[in-house]
Symmetry: D2
Subunit: 110 residues, 4 copies
Protein backbone atom coordinates (compact mmCIF):
# COMPACT_ATOMS: atom_id res chain seq x y z
CA UNK A 1 0.00 0.00 0.00
CA UNK A 2 1.30 3.47 -0.82
CA UNK A 3 1.66 5.64 2.24
CA UNK A 4 1.16 8.96 0.44
CA UNK A 5 -2.22 10.46 1.22
CA UNK A 6 -4.37 10.52 -1.96
CA UNK A 7 -7.28 12.59 -0.79
CA UNK A 8 -8.41 14.72 2.10
CA UNK A 9 -12.13 14.91 2.81
CA UNK A 10 -11.85 15.84 6.49
CA UNK A 11 -13.20 19.37 6.11
CA UNK A 12 -16.08 18.18 3.90
CA UNK A 13 -17.02 15.46 6.40
CA UNK A 14 -17.10 18.07 9.16
CA UNK A 15 -19.15 20.49 7.05
CA UNK A 16 -21.72 17.79 6.24
CA UNK A 17 -21.92 16.79 9.90
CA UNK A 18 -22.56 20.39 10.93
CA UNK A 19 -25.19 20.70 8.18
CA UNK A 20 -27.01 17.60 9.43
CA UNK A 21 -26.70 18.65 13.10
CA UNK A 22 -28.16 22.09 12.44
CA UNK A 23 -31.23 20.58 10.71
CA UNK A 24 -31.64 17.58 13.02
CA UNK A 25 -31.12 15.27 10.04
CA UNK A 26 -28.85 12.67 11.66
CA UNK A 27 -31.79 10.31 12.16
CA UNK A 28 -32.40 10.31 8.41
CA UNK A 29 -28.77 9.63 7.57
CA UNK A 30 -28.84 5.86 7.97
CA UNK A 31 -26.60 3.82 5.65
CA UNK A 32 -29.48 2.44 3.59
CA UNK A 33 -31.13 5.85 3.23
CA UNK A 34 -27.85 7.31 2.04
CA UNK A 35 -27.31 4.48 -0.46
CA UNK A 36 -30.75 5.21 -1.91
CA UNK A 37 -29.98 8.95 -2.00
CA UNK A 38 -26.66 8.22 -3.74
CA UNK A 39 -28.54 6.10 -6.31
CA UNK A 40 -30.91 8.99 -6.90
CA UNK A 41 -28.08 11.43 -7.57
CA UNK A 42 -26.25 9.06 -9.91
CA UNK A 43 -29.55 8.70 -11.76
CA UNK A 44 -29.77 12.49 -12.15
CA UNK A 45 -26.21 12.53 -13.47
CA UNK A 46 -27.03 9.75 -15.97
CA UNK A 47 -30.03 11.72 -17.20
CA UNK A 48 -27.77 14.60 -18.22
CA UNK A 49 -25.82 12.24 -20.49
CA UNK A 50 -28.55 9.94 -21.77
CA UNK A 51 -29.27 11.54 -25.15
CA UNK A 52 -25.79 12.94 -25.88
CA UNK A 53 -23.38 11.50 -28.42
CA UNK A 54 -19.87 10.83 -27.15
CA UNK A 55 -18.77 13.95 -29.05
CA UNK A 56 -21.41 16.12 -27.37
CA UNK A 57 -20.51 14.70 -23.96
CA UNK A 58 -16.85 15.55 -24.49
CA UNK A 59 -17.75 19.16 -25.40
CA UNK A 60 -20.15 19.56 -22.48
CA UNK A 61 -18.19 22.32 -20.80
CA UNK A 62 -18.90 24.59 -23.77
CA UNK A 63 -22.58 24.81 -22.88
CA UNK A 64 -22.68 26.74 -19.58
CA UNK A 65 -26.16 25.56 -18.49
CA UNK A 66 -25.41 21.86 -18.96
CA UNK A 67 -21.92 22.25 -17.51
CA UNK A 68 -23.44 23.83 -14.40
CA UNK A 69 -26.01 21.03 -14.07
CA UNK A 70 -23.32 18.34 -14.39
CA UNK A 71 -21.12 20.11 -11.85
CA UNK A 72 -24.04 20.24 -9.39
CA UNK A 73 -24.81 16.53 -9.80
CA UNK A 74 -21.15 15.55 -9.38
CA UNK A 75 -21.17 17.55 -6.13
CA UNK A 76 -24.36 15.82 -4.96
CA UNK A 77 -22.96 12.35 -5.66
CA UNK A 78 -19.74 13.21 -3.84
CA UNK A 79 -21.51 14.67 -0.82
CA UNK A 80 -23.73 11.62 -0.32
CA UNK A 81 -20.74 9.32 -0.82
CA UNK A 82 -18.66 11.16 1.78
CA UNK A 83 -21.60 11.32 4.18
CA UNK A 84 -22.23 7.58 3.77
CA UNK A 85 -18.56 6.83 4.41
CA UNK A 86 -18.64 9.02 7.55
CA UNK A 87 -21.73 7.30 8.91
CA UNK A 88 -20.15 3.89 8.25
CA UNK A 89 -16.84 4.97 9.79
CA UNK A 90 -14.92 4.27 6.57
CA UNK A 91 -11.66 6.14 5.92
CA UNK A 92 -11.97 6.92 2.20
CA UNK A 93 -8.32 7.80 1.78
CA UNK A 94 -7.19 4.42 3.12
CA UNK A 95 -9.93 2.62 1.14
CA UNK A 96 -8.83 4.26 -2.10
CA UNK A 97 -5.15 3.61 -1.52
CA UNK A 98 -5.78 -0.07 -0.83
CA UNK A 99 -8.04 -0.39 -3.87
CA UNK A 100 -5.48 1.24 -6.17
CA UNK A 101 -2.85 -1.25 -5.02
CA UNK A 102 -5.29 -4.13 -5.61
CA UNK A 103 -6.17 -2.77 -9.06
CA UNK A 104 -2.48 -2.51 -9.92
CA UNK A 105 -2.09 -6.22 -9.16
CA UNK A 106 -5.26 -7.14 -11.05
CA UNK A 107 -4.44 -5.06 -14.12
CA UNK A 108 -0.63 -5.01 -14.38
CA UNK A 109 0.78 -2.25 -16.57
CA UNK A 110 2.40 -3.71 -19.70
CA UNK B 1 -19.46 30.81 -1.23
CA UNK B 2 -17.12 29.73 1.54
CA UNK B 3 -13.50 30.17 0.61
CA UNK B 4 -12.19 27.40 2.85
CA UNK B 5 -11.13 24.36 0.85
CA UNK B 6 -13.41 21.41 1.67
CA UNK B 7 -11.61 18.61 -0.08
CA UNK B 8 -8.39 17.86 -1.87
CA UNK B 9 -8.45 15.19 -4.56
CA UNK B 10 -5.40 16.44 -6.49
CA UNK B 11 -3.16 13.49 -5.65
CA UNK B 12 -5.94 11.00 -6.42
CA UNK B 13 -6.64 12.63 -9.78
CA UNK B 14 -2.95 12.39 -10.64
CA UNK B 15 -2.74 8.76 -9.50
CA UNK B 16 -5.76 7.81 -11.63
CA UNK B 17 -4.29 9.64 -14.63
CA UNK B 18 -1.00 7.76 -14.25
CA UNK B 19 -2.91 4.48 -13.91
CA UNK B 20 -4.84 5.13 -17.14
CA UNK B 21 -1.71 6.35 -18.98
CA UNK B 22 0.29 3.24 -18.06
CA UNK B 23 -2.47 0.94 -19.41
CA UNK B 24 -3.41 3.05 -22.43
CA UNK B 25 -6.94 3.40 -21.03
CA UNK B 26 -7.55 7.08 -21.78
CA UNK B 27 -9.55 6.22 -24.88
CA UNK B 28 -11.97 4.21 -22.73
CA UNK B 29 -12.38 7.00 -20.20
CA UNK B 30 -15.04 8.99 -22.06
CA UNK B 31 -17.65 10.79 -19.93
CA UNK B 32 -20.48 8.42 -20.89
CA UNK B 33 -18.37 5.31 -20.27
CA UNK B 34 -17.42 6.62 -16.84
CA UNK B 35 -21.06 7.44 -15.98
CA UNK B 36 -21.98 3.84 -16.83
CA UNK B 37 -19.04 2.54 -14.78
CA UNK B 38 -20.10 4.74 -11.85
CA UNK B 39 -23.63 3.32 -12.14
CA UNK B 40 -22.20 -0.18 -12.04
CA UNK B 41 -20.25 0.50 -8.86
CA UNK B 42 -23.21 2.14 -7.10
CA UNK B 43 -25.18 -0.97 -8.05
CA UNK B 44 -22.57 -3.18 -6.39
CA UNK B 45 -22.73 -0.99 -3.28
CA UNK B 46 -26.55 -1.25 -3.23
CA UNK B 47 -26.31 -5.05 -3.46
CA UNK B 48 -24.35 -5.15 -0.21
CA UNK B 49 -27.22 -3.39 1.58
CA UNK B 50 -30.24 -4.87 -0.18
CA UNK B 51 -31.24 -7.58 2.30
CA UNK B 52 -30.02 -5.90 5.51
CA UNK B 53 -32.28 -4.37 8.12
CA UNK B 54 -31.40 -0.83 9.16
CA UNK B 55 -29.99 -2.31 12.38
CA UNK B 56 -27.75 -4.73 10.50
CA UNK B 57 -26.57 -1.95 8.17
CA UNK B 58 -25.62 0.22 11.14
CA UNK B 59 -23.57 -2.64 12.65
CA UNK B 60 -21.88 -3.50 9.37
CA UNK B 61 -18.38 -2.68 10.56
CA UNK B 62 -18.60 -5.56 13.05
CA UNK B 63 -18.52 -8.14 10.27
CA UNK B 64 -15.02 -7.85 8.77
CA UNK B 65 -15.84 -9.48 5.40
CA UNK B 66 -18.85 -7.26 4.69
CA UNK B 67 -17.04 -4.18 6.05
CA UNK B 68 -14.17 -4.88 3.64
CA UNK B 69 -16.55 -5.31 0.69
CA UNK B 70 -18.37 -2.05 1.48
CA UNK B 71 -15.06 -0.22 1.84
CA UNK B 72 -13.94 -1.50 -1.56
CA UNK B 73 -17.17 -0.43 -3.26
CA UNK B 74 -17.03 3.04 -1.68
CA UNK B 75 -13.50 3.35 -3.06
CA UNK B 76 -14.64 2.23 -6.53
CA UNK B 77 -17.49 4.75 -6.59
CA UNK B 78 -15.15 7.54 -5.49
CA UNK B 79 -12.47 6.67 -8.02
CA UNK B 80 -14.88 6.69 -10.97
CA UNK B 81 -16.45 9.92 -9.71
CA UNK B 82 -13.07 11.65 -9.43
CA UNK B 83 -11.96 10.29 -12.81
CA UNK B 84 -15.20 11.51 -14.43
CA UNK B 85 -14.74 14.95 -12.89
CA UNK B 86 -11.14 15.06 -14.17
CA UNK B 87 -12.13 14.11 -17.70
CA UNK B 88 -14.89 16.74 -17.65
CA UNK B 89 -12.55 19.37 -16.21
CA UNK B 90 -14.73 19.90 -13.13
CA UNK B 91 -13.16 21.20 -9.93
CA UNK B 92 -14.92 19.06 -7.30
CA UNK B 93 -13.87 21.26 -4.40
CA UNK B 94 -15.45 24.35 -5.97
CA UNK B 95 -18.50 22.35 -7.05
CA UNK B 96 -19.08 21.04 -3.53
CA UNK B 97 -18.57 24.44 -1.91
CA UNK B 98 -21.08 26.07 -4.24
CA UNK B 99 -23.59 23.28 -3.74
CA UNK B 100 -23.33 23.49 0.05
CA UNK B 101 -24.09 27.20 -0.09
CA UNK B 102 -27.07 26.55 -2.38
CA UNK B 103 -28.31 23.79 -0.04
CA UNK B 104 -28.02 26.15 2.92
CA UNK B 105 -30.33 28.60 1.16
CA UNK B 106 -32.74 25.86 0.08
CA UNK B 107 -32.90 24.20 3.51
CA UNK B 108 -32.38 26.99 6.05
CA UNK B 109 -31.40 25.81 9.54
CA UNK B 110 -34.19 26.50 12.03
CA UNK C 1 -37.37 -24.40 -19.01
CA UNK C 2 -41.09 -24.01 -18.39
CA UNK C 3 -43.07 -23.64 -21.60
CA UNK C 4 -45.89 -21.60 -20.10
CA UNK C 5 -45.72 -17.95 -21.17
CA UNK C 6 -44.97 -15.76 -18.14
CA UNK C 7 -45.48 -12.34 -19.62
CA UNK C 8 -46.72 -10.66 -22.76
CA UNK C 9 -45.22 -7.30 -23.67
CA UNK C 10 -45.97 -7.46 -27.41
CA UNK C 11 -48.55 -4.67 -27.40
CA UNK C 12 -46.33 -2.44 -25.26
CA UNK C 13 -43.35 -3.00 -27.56
CA UNK C 14 -45.51 -2.02 -30.54
CA UNK C 15 -46.88 1.06 -28.76
CA UNK C 16 -43.37 2.23 -27.85
CA UNK C 17 -42.19 1.66 -31.43
CA UNK C 18 -45.08 3.73 -32.80
CA UNK C 19 -44.34 6.45 -30.24
CA UNK C 20 -40.69 6.61 -31.33
CA UNK C 21 -41.56 6.46 -35.03
CA UNK C 22 -44.04 9.34 -34.77
CA UNK C 23 -41.42 11.57 -33.10
CA UNK C 24 -38.42 10.44 -35.15
CA UNK C 25 -36.76 9.20 -31.94
CA UNK C 26 -35.33 5.91 -33.20
CA UNK C 27 -31.91 7.47 -33.67
CA UNK C 28 -31.83 8.35 -29.97
CA UNK C 29 -32.87 4.87 -28.86
CA UNK C 30 -29.44 3.25 -28.94
CA UNK C 31 -28.74 0.56 -26.33
CA UNK C 32 -26.33 2.72 -24.32
CA UNK C 33 -28.68 5.72 -24.36
CA UNK C 34 -31.50 3.51 -23.11
CA UNK C 35 -29.34 2.01 -20.35
CA UNK C 36 -28.54 5.55 -19.16
CA UNK C 37 -32.24 6.48 -19.35
CA UNK C 38 -33.15 3.35 -17.36
CA UNK C 39 -30.56 4.34 -14.74
CA UNK C 40 -32.13 7.77 -14.53
CA UNK C 41 -35.60 6.37 -13.92
CA UNK C 42 -34.40 3.90 -11.28
CA UNK C 43 -32.74 6.85 -9.60
CA UNK C 44 -36.04 8.74 -9.54
CA UNK C 45 -37.72 5.68 -8.04
CA UNK C 46 -35.02 5.42 -5.37
CA UNK C 47 -35.52 9.08 -4.47
CA UNK C 48 -39.16 8.40 -3.59
CA UNK C 49 -38.03 5.81 -1.02
CA UNK C 50 -34.84 7.37 0.29
CA UNK C 51 -36.12 8.99 3.49
CA UNK C 52 -38.95 6.56 4.29
CA UNK C 53 -38.87 4.01 7.07
CA UNK C 54 -39.76 0.45 6.04
CA UNK C 55 -43.15 0.99 7.73
CA UNK C 56 -43.82 4.16 5.71
CA UNK C 57 -42.77 2.45 2.49
CA UNK C 58 -45.18 -0.42 3.15
CA UNK C 59 -48.06 2.03 3.69
CA UNK C 60 -47.19 4.12 0.64
CA UNK C 61 -50.45 3.42 -1.19
CA UNK C 62 -52.31 5.30 1.54
CA UNK C 63 -50.84 8.62 0.45
CA UNK C 64 -52.34 9.28 -3.00
CA UNK C 65 -49.70 11.77 -4.18
CA UNK C 66 -46.74 9.53 -3.35
CA UNK C 67 -48.56 6.45 -4.65
CA UNK C 68 -49.13 8.23 -7.96
CA UNK C 69 -45.46 9.27 -8.17
CA UNK C 70 -44.27 5.71 -7.47
CA UNK C 71 -46.68 4.29 -10.03
CA UNK C 72 -45.36 6.74 -12.67
CA UNK C 73 -41.74 5.85 -11.95
CA UNK C 74 -42.45 2.11 -12.10
CA UNK C 75 -44.06 2.71 -15.50
CA UNK C 76 -41.04 4.72 -16.69
CA UNK C 77 -38.59 2.01 -15.61
CA UNK C 78 -40.68 -0.66 -17.33
CA UNK C 79 -41.04 1.30 -20.55
CA UNK C 80 -37.32 1.91 -20.91
CA UNK C 81 -36.60 -1.72 -20.04
CA UNK C 82 -39.02 -3.01 -22.67
CA UNK C 83 -37.73 -0.52 -25.24
CA UNK C 84 -34.13 -1.56 -24.55
CA UNK C 85 -35.05 -5.23 -24.92
CA UNK C 86 -36.80 -4.46 -28.23
CA UNK C 87 -33.83 -2.58 -29.61
CA UNK C 88 -31.52 -5.42 -28.58
CA UNK C 89 -33.87 -8.05 -30.02
CA UNK C 90 -34.27 -9.80 -26.66
CA UNK C 91 -37.41 -11.83 -25.98
CA UNK C 92 -38.17 -10.88 -22.37
CA UNK C 93 -40.60 -13.75 -21.83
CA UNK C 94 -38.00 -16.36 -22.81
CA UNK C 95 -35.30 -14.51 -20.85
CA UNK C 96 -37.41 -14.49 -17.69
CA UNK C 97 -38.42 -18.14 -18.02
CA UNK C 98 -34.81 -19.23 -18.41
CA UNK C 99 -33.69 -17.08 -15.49
CA UNK C 100 -36.41 -18.46 -13.21
CA UNK C 101 -35.28 -22.00 -13.98
CA UNK C 102 -31.66 -21.02 -13.28
CA UNK C 103 -32.68 -19.35 -10.01
CA UNK C 104 -34.58 -22.48 -8.99
CA UNK C 105 -31.39 -24.50 -9.40
CA UNK C 106 -29.26 -21.89 -7.62
CA UNK C 107 -31.66 -21.46 -4.69
CA UNK C 108 -33.42 -24.82 -4.24
CA UNK C 109 -36.61 -24.69 -2.20
CA UNK C 110 -36.21 -26.53 1.11
CA UNK D 1 -56.42 6.55 -21.33
CA UNK D 2 -56.33 3.76 -23.91
CA UNK D 3 -58.39 0.76 -22.86
CA UNK D 4 -56.37 -1.80 -24.79
CA UNK D 5 -54.23 -3.90 -22.49
CA UNK D 6 -50.54 -3.20 -23.17
CA UNK D 7 -48.93 -5.90 -21.10
CA UNK D 8 -49.76 -8.96 -19.07
CA UNK D 9 -47.51 -9.84 -16.17
CA UNK D 10 -50.06 -11.85 -14.19
CA UNK D 11 -48.36 -15.21 -14.65
CA UNK D 12 -44.94 -13.75 -13.82
CA UNK D 13 -46.29 -12.11 -10.66
CA UNK D 14 -47.76 -15.46 -9.59
CA UNK D 15 -44.53 -17.32 -10.38
CA UNK D 16 -42.45 -14.85 -8.35
CA UNK D 17 -44.90 -15.10 -5.45
CA UNK D 18 -44.66 -18.91 -5.48
CA UNK D 19 -40.86 -18.66 -5.64
CA UNK D 20 -40.79 -16.38 -2.59
CA UNK D 21 -43.34 -18.48 -0.68
CA UNK D 22 -41.40 -21.71 -1.24
CA UNK D 23 -38.21 -20.14 0.15
CA UNK D 24 -39.83 -18.10 2.93
CA UNK D 25 -38.51 -14.91 1.31
CA UNK D 26 -41.56 -12.68 1.70
CA UNK D 27 -40.07 -11.02 4.76
CA UNK D 28 -37.09 -9.90 2.66
CA UNK D 29 -39.25 -8.52 -0.11
CA UNK D 30 -39.97 -5.12 1.40
CA UNK D 31 -40.30 -2.18 -1.01
CA UNK D 32 -37.00 -0.61 -0.01
CA UNK D 33 -35.11 -3.91 -0.22
CA UNK D 34 -36.51 -4.47 -3.70
CA UNK D 35 -35.58 -0.94 -4.83
CA UNK D 36 -32.00 -1.62 -3.72
CA UNK D 37 -32.04 -4.99 -5.49
CA UNK D 38 -33.36 -3.33 -8.65
CA UNK D 39 -30.54 -0.77 -8.42
CA UNK D 40 -28.04 -3.59 -8.14
CA UNK D 41 -29.35 -5.32 -11.27
CA UNK D 42 -29.41 -2.10 -13.31
CA UNK D 43 -25.81 -1.60 -12.21
CA UNK D 44 -24.89 -5.06 -13.53
CA UNK D 45 -26.60 -4.23 -16.81
CA UNK D 46 -24.69 -0.94 -17.06
CA UNK D 47 -21.40 -2.78 -16.49
CA UNK D 48 -22.01 -4.87 -19.61
CA UNK D 49 -22.21 -1.70 -21.69
CA UNK D 50 -19.66 0.53 -19.98
CA UNK D 51 -16.66 0.02 -22.26
CA UNK D 52 -18.52 -0.61 -25.53
CA UNK D 53 -18.76 1.85 -28.39
CA UNK D 54 -22.26 2.52 -29.69
CA UNK D 55 -21.40 0.33 -32.68
CA UNK D 56 -20.31 -2.58 -30.47
CA UNK D 57 -23.44 -2.22 -28.35
CA UNK D 58 -25.65 -2.38 -31.44
CA UNK D 59 -23.91 -5.59 -32.60
CA UNK D 60 -24.06 -7.19 -29.15
CA UNK D 61 -26.27 -10.10 -30.21
CA UNK D 62 -23.47 -11.36 -32.45
CA UNK D 63 -21.35 -12.33 -29.46
CA UNK D 64 -23.24 -15.20 -27.79
CA UNK D 65 -21.61 -14.90 -24.35
CA UNK D 66 -22.30 -11.17 -23.99
CA UNK D 67 -25.78 -11.55 -25.50
CA UNK D 68 -26.56 -14.21 -22.89
CA UNK D 69 -25.26 -12.01 -20.06
CA UNK D 70 -27.34 -9.03 -21.24
CA UNK D 71 -30.43 -11.21 -21.57
CA UNK D 72 -29.96 -12.48 -17.99
CA UNK D 73 -29.59 -8.98 -16.59
CA UNK D 74 -32.66 -7.72 -18.45
CA UNK D 75 -34.58 -10.63 -16.90
CA UNK D 76 -33.26 -9.80 -13.43
CA UNK D 77 -34.25 -6.14 -13.74
CA UNK D 78 -37.72 -7.10 -14.95
CA UNK D 79 -38.27 -9.66 -12.20
CA UNK D 80 -37.38 -7.24 -9.41
CA UNK D 81 -39.51 -4.54 -11.03
CA UNK D 82 -42.54 -6.83 -11.28
CA UNK D 83 -41.99 -8.13 -7.74
CA UNK D 84 -41.74 -4.55 -6.41
CA UNK D 85 -44.95 -3.59 -8.20
CA UNK D 86 -46.71 -6.65 -6.74
CA UNK D 87 -45.59 -5.86 -3.21
CA UNK D 88 -46.75 -2.24 -3.62
CA UNK D 89 -50.05 -3.33 -5.17
CA UNK D 90 -49.39 -1.40 -8.40
CA UNK D 91 -51.08 -2.53 -11.63
CA UNK D 92 -48.25 -2.12 -14.13
CA UNK D 93 -50.53 -2.34 -17.16
CA UNK D 94 -52.69 0.56 -15.95
CA UNK D 95 -49.60 2.51 -14.86
CA UNK D 96 -47.99 2.16 -18.28
CA UNK D 97 -51.15 3.05 -20.17
CA UNK D 98 -51.61 6.21 -18.11
CA UNK D 99 -47.98 7.19 -18.51
CA UNK D 100 -48.09 6.71 -22.29
CA UNK D 101 -51.09 9.03 -22.51
CA UNK D 102 -49.30 11.60 -20.34
CA UNK D 103 -46.15 11.31 -22.49
CA UNK D 104 -48.25 11.83 -25.64
CA UNK D 105 -49.50 15.12 -24.20
CA UNK D 106 -46.04 16.16 -23.03
CA UNK D 107 -44.32 15.29 -26.31
CA UNK D 108 -46.91 15.82 -29.07
CA UNK D 109 -46.10 14.11 -32.35
CA UNK D 110 -45.35 16.69 -35.05
Amino acid sequence: MTTQRLLDVTALEAALQRFADARDWNGFHTPRNLVLALTGEVGELAELFQWLTDEQAARLAQDPATARAVRDELADVLMYLVRLSSVLGVDLDAAVREKLVANGVRYPAP
